[in-house]
């Protein structure tokens, strides 16, 4: 059967220009009635200046509360092939490494059961299958599990953890991001598949402060690799950068250090490591000469979110340095304390960062059993009111 291709003069504009176009890609599979109607809905939305999708409801696979996002078109008579167009989130392998064989398998499953349209990868990190009818959800899930895949998170659960390629491909990795991501994915299967939180909770793991997965802006808990000792420095390689003219060391390196903790006397680069904030700038500019120190681990930060309901938040330091040795017991205990407290007192759709803002960092730390440290302070207070509480023991000692 041939499909009558929809007229799409408005979205055709998005094919112009030298950059990749999703409209161009969708048109390649417009023989599929679902894709053809999808292009039609999109054209209609551009025309009406309003989206024609509703989402949510009672769709999913047996036993799971996450992984499927119900999506329905509000013009089902006009676009019957996308009347249901559910999204499936497939848990990706850590670091997004696949064999070509497995990619073919995933595509075959999706062409058999759904629209065949994928998003590799969605902003959550998962492989996204776009466009499934309700009756095909279980058969898709069954074929996926047979191929060794599982669904990811959605709704008020732990979302599919994601990470940079870390030690698999990057010399800057200060811990094994992929190992950590795999470990917590297995450890918190229940939290991933059975939503039990006030709202979503995301983990993102970056191997160094370059933060290639943008965890500081996108994850409720950001795990960012860092080091405690001095930057490793190869003076001969520094000199080579300078003599070859590859780098203007004064302007490009020393002058751009955010804490001005470096100096160049014409022959030697000196770093005052005590004042280094591990921003990675100098290392990125002279990768052959400088490298993160040898005493490596991660900084654990909490509370970022993108602006869906309230405004955007960046995560703040919770643990300045954690050694990141498997099985990460202390970190897991701390996370469960956070989940318990936020779960008990958080409002519906309140991210953990918003919850901390509402109740105050001091109260939050007290409840999760963590001592405040100077690294948690974003900037010093500008007013003189300081509340200093003696603990009871000290109080008693003073009275004696």
């Amino acid at each position: 059967m041939t499909t009558n291709k929809r007229e799409t003069p408005l979205i055709d504009q998005l094919e112009k220009g030298p950059w990749p176009s999703f409209v161009k890609e969708l048109k390649k599979s417009a023989d599929n009635p679902m894709t053809n109607d999808l292009l039609g809905v999109l054209e209609r939305s551009y025309n009406d200046r309003i989206g024609h999708w509703k989402h949510g409801g009672l769709v999913g696979v047996m036993g799971y509360g996450g992984g499927v996002i119900g999506r329905y078109c509000d013009l089902p008579e006009e676009f019957p092939n996308v009347a249901h167009f559910h999204t499936m989130r497939i848990n990706h392998p850590a670091g997004w490494f696949y064999t070509s064989d497995v990619l073919r398998k995933i595509c075959d499953i999706w062409e058999k059961h759904g629209s065949g349209i994928t998003n590799m990868h969605g902003s959550t990190g998962d492989i996204i299958f776009l466009g499934c009818v309700t009756d095909e959800l279980e058969p898709t899930f069954s074929d996926l599990t047979e191929a060794g895949f599982d669904l990811g998170g959605s709704g008020s659960d732990m979302r599919t953890p994601s990470c940079c390629c870390g030690m698999a491909r990057c010399e800057w990795a200060c811990y094994d991001t992929m190992g950590f991501t795999y470990d917590i994915t297995q450890h918190w299967q229940d939290e991933l598949h059975r939503p039990a939180f006030p709202y979503k909770y995301k983990f993102k793991a970056s191997g160094c402060p370059n933060d290639c997965v943008a965890s500081i802006a996108r994850a409720d808990m950001s795990i960012i690799g860092t080091w405690r000792d001095d930057i490793q420095q190869d003076d001969a390689a520094v000199a080579e950068y300078v003599t070859s003219g590859a780098v203007d060391i004064v302007e490009d390196v020393v002058g751009r250090c955010p804490t001005q903790c470096m100096s160049w006397d014409g022959e030697k680069l000196t770093i005052n490591n005590r004042d280094c904030v591990r921003c990675m700038h100098c290392i990125n500019v002279m990768p052959k000469a400088l490298a993160p120190g040898k005493d490596r681990g991660a900084t654990i930060l909490l509370g970022a979110k993108a602006p869906i309901i309230g405004g955007a938040l960046l995560s703040s330091v919770l643990i300045p340095f954690y050694e990141m040795e498997p099985p990460y017991e202390d970190l897991k205990e701390l996370v469960e304390e956070i989940w318990d407290f936020w779960g008990e007192h958080g409002k519906n759709r309140e991210r953990v960062g918003e919850f901390i803002q509402r109740i105050g960092l001091g109260n939050f730390l007290e409840q999760i059993g963590l001592e405040p440290t100077p690294e948690m302070v974003v900037h010093p207070r500008t007013n003189p009111y300081i509340f200093f509480e003696l603990d009871e023991d000290e109080d008693e000692e003073e009275e004696d």
Partner: protein, 79 residues
């Protein structure tokens, strides 16, 4: 009472609660957990036990998850 029996009993009590308020109020997993801790006492019913009861409720098909701005536990479609 064995742990298994208590999990079943709590799952049944959760089910009754979801059924009674169906269409009137949505419950999150935490709402059911809090209600069960209150009903049975925290010395008898804790978060881990409630987690098992919810799993039983969902895996048996008596309840399902829905998404209405957040994830809730509700009766399956057509109930």
């Amino acid at each position: 009472m064995s742990d298994e029996d208590l999990i079943n009993e709590v799952a049944n009590a959760m089910y009754e609660m979801v059924k009674e308020y169906h269409g009137k109020k949505n419950f999150k997993a935490m709402d059911l957990t809090k209600a069960m801790k209150q009903k049975y006492g925290e010395d008898k019913v804790n978060k881990a036990l409630c987690k098992k009861a919810i799993r039983q409720l969902i895996d048996s098909g008596r309840c399902t998850y829905s998404y209405v701005g957040g994830s809730y536990i509700t009766l399956p479609a057509g109930s």
